[in-house]
């Protein structure tokens, strides 16, 4: 019995190690490709220099590109992809709705309103940055949606409908501000931001995004058994001994905070939170102890690769990453969908 247990345990550990290695390789790959291709050896030497002062000799400009631009960007992309995918998986499991995604809670709509309030209306008198404005906006919108759903009667349907209402309201406010006050230039900039943009990302952003992603994943993972218990609905979870109200507050709050932080750093990247969890389900099934980490991994890998594509696909121009996630993700997901149906 102990042998079996330790086997399952080592399986788990080796799976985690493989996943982490895969992630590291992808990050290094993302740091090496770009407009100027930098050899993998240089990338590894640069990272070694920075992490444990290895003292390898590398080209200063190459090292700067790898460390300051590409690597920070790739790590944020990974954190963001993991967070959105986990938030999506949690909300789909909790609300028992396959169409739930992190933006359901009004967060991206609120973030866009906050961002345009700062950028176009000049709210915060130059003290607040775009990101801070977006973060505040997303929290306001989430508070609105949460209060509305509490008033409407706490069911899962109420949360989803309140989210739709809140999103529409805040999107309308954004459109109102943009069409009323923005110049064409500003409107284009906002549009670009709304579709997701990792260009301005540096290390300070990493130190915000990475801890939020890790802490969020750990908390959600701690609730994976509770999430399983929601398989047959809310009352069934309650009869299985799950503190339903606490699970709702913790998990929805966690998903909302993770999403709000990521959206305020990189804009609202669509598709990841909705579709990655479904892709993960095809690989590992619906039990959350496997689903959540695998969603996080696929989300991270997917967004890092999407970011690489967004830098490469049109020479001399960076496309909004949200365009890439949908352009590549939708056909890829279609493949999984059809293939999965054949398999079962």
């Amino acid at each position: 019995m102990i042998g079996l247990l330790s086997l399952a345990f080592t399986n788990r550990i080796s799976a985690t190690l493989v996943a982490l290695m895969l992630l590291c390789v992808t990050l290094a790959f993302a740091a090496s490709v770009g407009e100027t291709a930098i050899p993998m050896q240089t990338v590894i030497n640069t990272i070694a220099n920075h992490v444990w002062n290895a003292g390898h000799e590398v080209d200063v400009i190459d090292a700067g590109i790898v460390w300051n631009y590409r690597l920070s960007r790739a790590v944020v992309a990974a954190s963001c992809g993991a967070s959105l995918a986990v938030a999506g998986a949690v909300l789909q499991g909790l609300l028992r709705n396959a169409l739930a995604d992190p933006y359901l809670l009004g967060i991206s709509a609120g973030a866009s309103t906050g961002a345009v309030s700062v950028a176009i209306l000049g709210l915060g008198a130059g003290v607040l940055g775009l990101s801070v404005g977006a973060f505040i906006g997303s929290l306001v919108a989430f508070a609105f949606v949460a209060l509305l759903s509490l008033q409407a009667g706490r069911g899962t349907g109420a949360i989803i409908l309140a989210g739709v209402a809140g999103s529409q309201l805040f999107n309308a406010m954004t459109s109102f501000i943009v069409t009323k006050s923005a110049s064409a230039e500003e409107a284009r900039g906002i549009m670009f931001w709304l579709l997701g943009n990792l260009s301005g990302v540096r290390w300070p952003d990493v130190w915000l995004a990475l801890p939020v992603a890790i802490v969020g994943l750990v908390i959600c993972f701690g609730y994976s058994r509770a999430l399983d218990a929601f398989t047959f609905g809310r009352d069934s979870a309650a009869s299985l001994g799950v503190p339903v109200r606490r699970a709702y507050v913790v998990l929805i709050g966690c998903a909302a905070l993770m999403t709000a932080v990521m959206v305020s750093i990189v804009g609202s990247i669509g598709f990841v939170g909705l579709v990655i969890p479904h892709a993960a389900r095809f690989f590992v099934g619906t039990r959350h102890s496997a689903l959540l980490p695998v969603s996080a991994l696929i989300g991270a890998l997917f967004l890092v690769c999407a970011d690489v594509f967004s830098r490469m696909i049109v020479p001399g121009q960076v496309l909004p990453i949200g365009v890439i996630t949908a352009l590549i993700g939708a056909p890829a997901f279609a493949l999984i969908l059809c293939h999965g149906r054949v398999l079962r």
Binding site: G222, S239, G241
Partner: protein
């Protein structure tokens, strides 16, 4: 080992769904809960299971207020099978039954071989062991119901509560489920629609009417023509069951009380009209 409700009220908003119900479940019995649609059976089951706290009065488990016992401990003692619980998740029978171990597991006490054994026993009890790897969505209604019962059994409960467990099943599966439940070594409370089933399987029957507990007693005491007429609005004769002494069979009469129901309905309509005019 006792489960009882004392003067329990349950409201939704200002609407009283259950009022002043006092009922004590006896250890080891099969207690049936009957009553017409909307009489409060399902609500009473959810209060009894501890999912909904009563608005007034108290629900007691071994004399202790259910509110103070805590969800996890409650889930180890009361298993509840809801009226309709389905899922779109692709899970196997074993995974569904494994959910019943939730109240025993935590980060510090992970899944063990004992849990495997309990799940296997639960599958055996409902005769579903051979289907343990089947996907949930490929099961028939009766099989799904068996899996639900196995999930509740995996909680190793003292009390098994079933809300209309035979809904949407064909007659063979209806009887199969009830016979299965009757054989189980647990105390059972089941809300039942079919009065003949209640008569066949229950040790005692509680009859709900308009949110109140109208009467409680043996099938022969409760299932009498007067009650069937007053509470259910049907005319019927009740015959003693010759094969199973002490039990009874109900034979409904077509048309007999239809006139009563129709006249009731006409009266009601007239009343609403009067109200509207007033």
């Amino acid at each position: 080992m006792s489960l009882e409700l004392r003067n329990v009220d349950w409201r939704v908003g200002f609407k009283k769904i259950i009022s002043d119900v006092t009922i004590a479940v006896k250890p080891g019995e099969f207690l049936g809960l009957i009553g017409p649609n909307g009489s409060g059976k399902t609500s009473l089951m959810s209060v009894l299971s501890g999912i909904r706290p009563p608005s007034g009065g108290s629900a007691l488990l071994d004399g202790q207020d259910v509110k103070r016992i805590g969800r996890r401990n409650l889930a180890r003692r009361i298993g509840f099978v809801e009226q309709q619980a389905d899922t779109i998740d692709r899970i196997t029978v074993t995974e569904a039954v494994s959910l019943g171990r939730t109240p025993y597991l935590s980060l510090l006490t992970p899944w063990s071989q004992n849990d495997d054994a309990v799940v296997d026993d639960a599958l055996d009890a409902v005769d579903m062991r051979s289907m343990k790897d089947r996907m949930w969505h490929t099961l028939s209604g009766g099989e799904k119901q068996r899996v639900h019962i196995a999930r509740a059994l995996a909680q190793e409960p003292e009390f098994l509560l079933l809300d209309e467990p035979t809904n949407h099943l064909d007659i063979r599966h209806q009887l199969g489920i009830l016979e299965l439940v009757r054989r189980l070594p647990v105390t059972v409370v089941a809300a039942l629609h079919d009065l003949n089933h209640a008569a066949m399987f229950c040790d005692r029957i509680a009859m709900m009417d308009g949110g109140k507990l109208r009467a409680i007693g043996t099938p022969q005491d409760i299932l009498i023509p007067e009650n069937l007429r007053d509470v259910f609005g049907v005319s019927a004769t009740v015959e003693p069951d010759n094969i199973h002494p002490g039990r009874c069979m109900i034979r409904y009469h077509a048309g007999g009380t239809n006139t009563d129901v129709v006249s009731d309905f006409a009266e009601m309509k007239a009343d609403t009209k009067k109200d509207r005019i007033a």
